[in-house]
Amino acid sequence: MIPAPPIWTLSRSCEKLAAGHITSEALTEAYLARIKAFDGQLHCVLRCTEERALGDARASDQRRAQGALLSPLDGIPIALKDLLITQGIETTAGSRILAGYRPPYQGTIARRLEEAGTVLLGKLNMDAFAMGSSNEHSGFGPCHNPWALERVPGGSSGGAAAAVSAALCAGAIGTDTGGSIRQPAAFCGVTGLRPTYGRVSRYGMIAFASSLDQAGPIAHDVKSCALLLQAIAGHDPRDATSVDLPPPSLPPDTQESLRGLRIGIPEEYFVEGSDPQVLRAVQQAIATLEAYGARSVKLSLPTTSLAVATYVILATAEASSNLARYDGIRYGAPPPDLAASLEAFTTRHRSAGFGDETTRRILLGTFVLSRDTIAAYLDKAQSARIAIQEDFAQAFSQCDLLATPTTPTPAFWAGTRTQHPLQMALADLFTTPSSLANLPGLSLPCGHSEDNLPIGLQLLAPPFAEDTLLRVGAFYQAHTDWHLRRPPYPPAPFAPKRLSPPAEPASTGAS
C-alpha cells in the first residue's frame, strides 16, 4: 500500500511528482487538510496561505505538463518561519509589535523558493524575534511538540520543526542564531541544518543578532535538507556578509563506507549534567558510524564553558541595536492611544508590543553596550569569540567533523523554564559554541528516550564544509531509521482523498 503522501519525505515527494504518481495540487491539498485538522492542537502555523498555495500548486502542475520545471523542488509544499519576509503576506517575527505588518518587499529566501517553483503553505510560529528555546515566547501563543503535546517543540524555530515533524508541510526554512534550527529539530525528531554564516542571504530575514543569524532547512532527512539548501544558498549582492560560493552539492546516493573519516569527540559535551539517555543514544550513533569505518578522536574544546556567556553578551547587544527600529513610526502595531510626547509614544508602543523575553534581552544588550560597561562586557566577549573560533580550528586539525549531542536533554515540559531564563539558555549549551565560530551544524534524529521523546545527534564541520555534513548525515540515515519514525500526533495514516478530519477525535491520537 502506498503510504499517505504527507508521510513521504520531501525528497520522496520530489520523486513522486516526477514520476507522475501525484500532482502538486493533490499534495498541497493533503497538507492543507492536515493543517486544518491538526494545527488547532499544535499551533505551528501562524498564517496558512491557502489560496496562494493552491495557485502555486496549479501553476507547478502546468509547468510540469509543459516540461518547463523551474527546479527539482518545483511543486513541493513548504512553509517559512515567520521571521522570513514575504511580500504582502503578514510577517510578524512572532511578535505582537509586528502584528499586521505586510512587508513592502520580498526577502531573498522567499524569492528564491518562489523562483524554484515551490508552493508556499504559510508562515510558522516562533519565539518572538527568534529569542527563545521553547516557542513559549511567541506573541501568538505557544506551539506544541507532536511527540508529546505538553512538551515544548524547542525554539526559536519551534513551529517549523513541529510542522515538519507532524507532516503539516514537506519541509520548512527556519533560522538559527544560537541553535534555533538544531535544538527544535532534535526535540521534534527531524533533521535540521544550520549553514555556515554567509551561505544564505540575510536580506529579508528580520534581524536578531546580525553576526550570528543564519537561515537553514528543516525536513525529515538529509537529502531533503540538501535540496532546500541548494534552492536558498548562494551569494546575494543585497547582503554584504553573504559569501560568493556555489551551494553545497547533494550527498551521493550511495556510499561504500566512512573509511578515512575522523570524528572528533569533544569531552566537554559529554560531561555529567546531560540526560544519560541522550549521552547513550549519541554514543550509540557514533558507534554506528565507527562500525562503517569512521575513526573517533577524543579531544578537548576548553573554551566551551565561555560560550553561553559570550553568546548572551554578543547576541543581546546586537539584538538591542537591531530592535531599535521598532519605534512605531513607520510600521508596527500602534498602541491604542497616541501620547502627546514622542518619548511617551515610542515607550508605550515598545512596551506594549515587545514581550517579556524580548524586553529582557533589549535591556541586557543596552546595558552591555553602555559607555561604562562596554569594555568589560562587549570587548571581552568579542575576544572570547575569537578564542572559541581558534579552539574549533585547532580541533579540526585533528578531525573532519565533530559529533556531539544536539541538546543536553530531550524536550522539556512546557512552562518549566519560562521563569528561569538562564535555564532556558542552557538548552542551547551545545549549539551556541559552533554558532559563535561560524560553523555549519547538522542535527539528526539518533534515538528516543524511554518516554518516546526524540534525541538528536549534532555533527559540526569546519566553515563551508557542509558537503561533509551532508555526506556523513546521509550515510547515517541510510543505515538507520530514526528519521523515519512518526510522532504520535497527528494520528496516522491519513488517506489523501479524505479531506475532512479523521473519524477518531484528535485527542485519542495524542500520547
Binding site: 517575527a93 513592502p104 518587499y105 528580520i206 553576526s211 554584504a240 527600529r325 521598532y326 519605534d327
Partner: protein
C-alpha cells in the same frame, strides 16, 4: 581679561553620488517628499546596507586633497539614538577606524595671509531624514528622501581662534569640495553644514576650557555672528567667576542669541559598536593611483596672478567656480589678452547668463568662439553693443561667430564716405558747439562722438570716425 578662544569644527558635507550610501535609491535634491525610498533607507525589518563604492571614492578624494592619511582598512560602526528621522534607531558611521586621519588645510584669511588648520579625521556616514514642522499644521512631517544620503564628516583640531578665520576657513573648504566635485555646497539645502565647538582659556598654556557646541549651522553669517556672541557670552561668565556647563546650544538669528539645547548630563550615550552588516572596508589596491586631483583653489589663484597678471578682484570672480576658471583660461589662450577675456567674461557674459537664467558653461558658446568675438572687437570690426548682440545670438543658437556676424550684418560703419556724411550731419546740427570745437575745446570731441554713435545706432567705427572728425574740424569750410 581677554580669553583665548579655541574653535573646533565638525563639518558634514553631502557627497554627490548617483545613489545613496547604502542602497540604490537616487541621490537627488528637490524630489517630492518620500519618493526616493526603499526597505534599506526606511529601516524596514530584514533590510540590509550595502556600501556605495562611489561614496568611498569621493571620500578618499577629499582625504587626498586635504592632506590626510588614507587608511587601506577602515570599519563602520552603529551610533544609536531614537529620533523620528532616524529609521533604524542608529546611524551607520565610522568610529574607531575611520577612512582618513590627520590632514591639514591652508586657507587665506581676510587679509590674504596664509593660515593652516590641522584636521583630526574624515570619515563616511549616512544622513538622516528630514523633519518638517511647517509642512502640515499641528504635526511634524518626516521626509525620508534624505535618509541614507552619503556624508563625509570632517573634524578639525580646535586651533581656530576667531570668527573671521573660521568663516574664511569654511569658505575655502567649501570651495575646495566644489572644485573636487564632491559636494554641491548648497548650504541652504543642507548639503554643507557645520557644528562649531567653542571653548575659552586664559592663555595657550592653560588646559582647554569647557566646550559649547553650536549644532547644524548652515550659514556663514550665522556662524560668524554666533561665534562672536559665544566668545562674548563665555568671557562674561568666566570673568564673573562662573563655571560653564558643557552644553549644546542653537543659534537664534532673530534674537541674535544662542540658546541651550542640552547639557552634559543629558548628553546621550551612543553605544557605538562595530557594524556587523558591513565587512571592514578594504580599499582596492589601485584606488589612490587612479584619482587625479584637479588644481585646487589656492594654487589656481596664485597661478592666475602670476600667469595672467590679473588684479585680485578679477581672480576672485573667475576662480569662484572651477568651470568658470577653466572657461576663462581656454578663452584667454586665444583672446587678444587675458584682461580682455577677464573683463568681457566677468561683465558681459556673466551678466547675459544671469539675465536669462542660463546655466554655466553656456553650451552654445565655447570659449574659443568667445575669443573670436573679442578679436572682432579688438580689430574694430564691430562696436561693443554689436558685440553684445552677437553674443546673445550665439548663446541662443550657437554657430560660427564670423558667419553669424555677417548673417546679421553686424558691422561697423566703416567706409569713409558714410562716416563723413555722419560727421557733416552732426556738425551742421550743432553749429555753435562745432565752432567752439574748432576754436580748440578738445573736450567737446566726446560730445560729437556720442552724437555720432547715436546717429549711427552704435555702428560707426569710432576709431576711424574720431580720425575723420579731427580732420574735419581742422579743415576749414566744413
Amino acid at each position: 581679561m581677554a580669553y583665548l578662544a579655541n574653535i573646533g569644527l565638525e563639518i558634514h558635507a553631502q557627497l554627490r553620488t548617483h545613489t545613496k550610501a547604502f542602497c540604490a535609491c537616487p541621490n537627488r535634491s528637490g524630489a517630492p517628499p518620500n519618493t526616493a525610498l526603499c526597505p534599506t533607507c526606511t529601516g524596514q525589518p530584514g533590510a540590509l546596507p550595502v556600501l556605495n563604492a562611489q561614496a568611498v571614492r569621493l571620500a578618499v578624494t577629499a582625504g587626498l586633497a586635504l592632506g590626510c592619511t588614507i587608511h587601506p582598512r577602515s570599519t563602520f560602526a552603529r551610533k544609536h539614538y531614537f529620533y523620528p528621522d532616524l529609521p533604524k534607531g542608529y546611524q551607520i558611521t565610522q568610529f574607531r577606524y575611520p577612512l582618513c586621519t590627520g590632514g591639514c588645510v591652508t586657507f587665506e584669511d581676510k587679509d590674504g595671509a596664509h593660515k593652516q588648520v590641522p584636521l583630526q579625521r574624515i570619515h563616511l556616514e549616512e544622513d538622516a531624514g528630514q523633519l518638517l514642522h511647517d509642512h502640515t499644521p499641528g504635526v511634524s512631517a518626516i521626509d525620508f528622501n534624505r535618509s541614507g544620503i552619503p556624508l563625509i564628516e570632517i573634524v578639525t583640531e580646535p586651533t581656530l581662534q576667531d570668527a573671521d578665520d573660521t568663516v574664511a576657513f569654511l569658505k575655502h573648504l567649501r570651495e575646495t569640495l566644489l572644485y573636487l566635485e564632491i559636494c554641491d555646497g548648497k548650504m541652504q539645502e543642507g548639503s554643507f553644514r557645520c557644528d562649531v565647538n567653542i571653548s575659552l582659556r586664559p592663555d595657550a598654556q592653560a588646559p582647554f576650557g569647557t566646550r559649547t557646541e553650536l549644532k547644524n549651522m548652515n550659514s556663514f553669517r550665522f556662524i560668524h555672528d554666533a561665534i562672536c556672541y559665544e566668545i562674548q557670552r563665555q568671557s562674561d561668565l568666566l570673568a564673573r567667576g562662573q563655571t560653564l556647563p558643557q552644553q549644546t546650544r542653537t543659534w537664534d538669528p532673530h534674537t541674535q542669541r544662542s540658546l541651550p539645547l542640552r547639557s552634559k548630563e543629558q548628553a546621550p550615550d551612543y553605544r557605538y559598536f562595530p557594524e556587523p552588516d558591513l565587512p571592514p572596508l578594504q580599499l582596492p589596491p589601485n584606488l589612490l593611483q587612479s584619482i587625479t586631483l584637479p588644481e585646487l583653489p589656492l594654487a589656481k589663484r596664485q597661478r592666475f596672478a602670476q600667469a595672467y597678471k590679473l588684479p585680485p578682484e578679477d581672480i576672485a570672480t573667475l576662480c569662484a567656480q572651477r568651470e568658470l576658471a577653466d572657461y576663462f583660461e581656454a578663452c584667454a589662450a586665444q583672446a587678444p589678452s587675458p584682461k580682455s577675456a577677464s573683463n568681457w567674461i566677468r561683465r558681459d557674459l556673466l551678466h547675459a547668463l544671469q539675465a536669462s537664467s542660463s546655466p554655466f558653461p553656456p553650451p552654445n558658446l565655447p570659449p574659443t568662439h568667445l575669443a573670436q568675438l573679442l578679436w572682432m572687437l579688438h580689430d574694430s570690426k564691430l562696436s561693443t553693443p554689436q558685440a553684445q548682440t552677437l553674443q546673445s545670438l550665439l548663446l541662443e543658437e550657437g554657430g560660427e561667430p564670423e558667419e553669424v556676424r555677417l548673417a546679421h550684418n553686424l558691422r561697423l560703419l566703416d567706409d569713409d564716405e558714410s562716416l563723413r556724411q555722419t560727421i557733416a550731419h552732426i556738425l551742421a546740427e550743432h553749429p555753435q558747439t562745432a565752432a567752439r570745437l574748432r576754436e580748440g575745446e578738445q573736450k567737446l570731441l566726446g560730445f560729437f562722438m556720442g552724437l555720432a554713435r547715436k546717429h549711427t545706432q552704435g555702428r560707426a567705427n569710432m576709431k576711424r570716425l574720431k580720425e575723420l572728425l579731427q580732420e574735419a574740424i581742422t579743415r576749414r569750410g566744413l
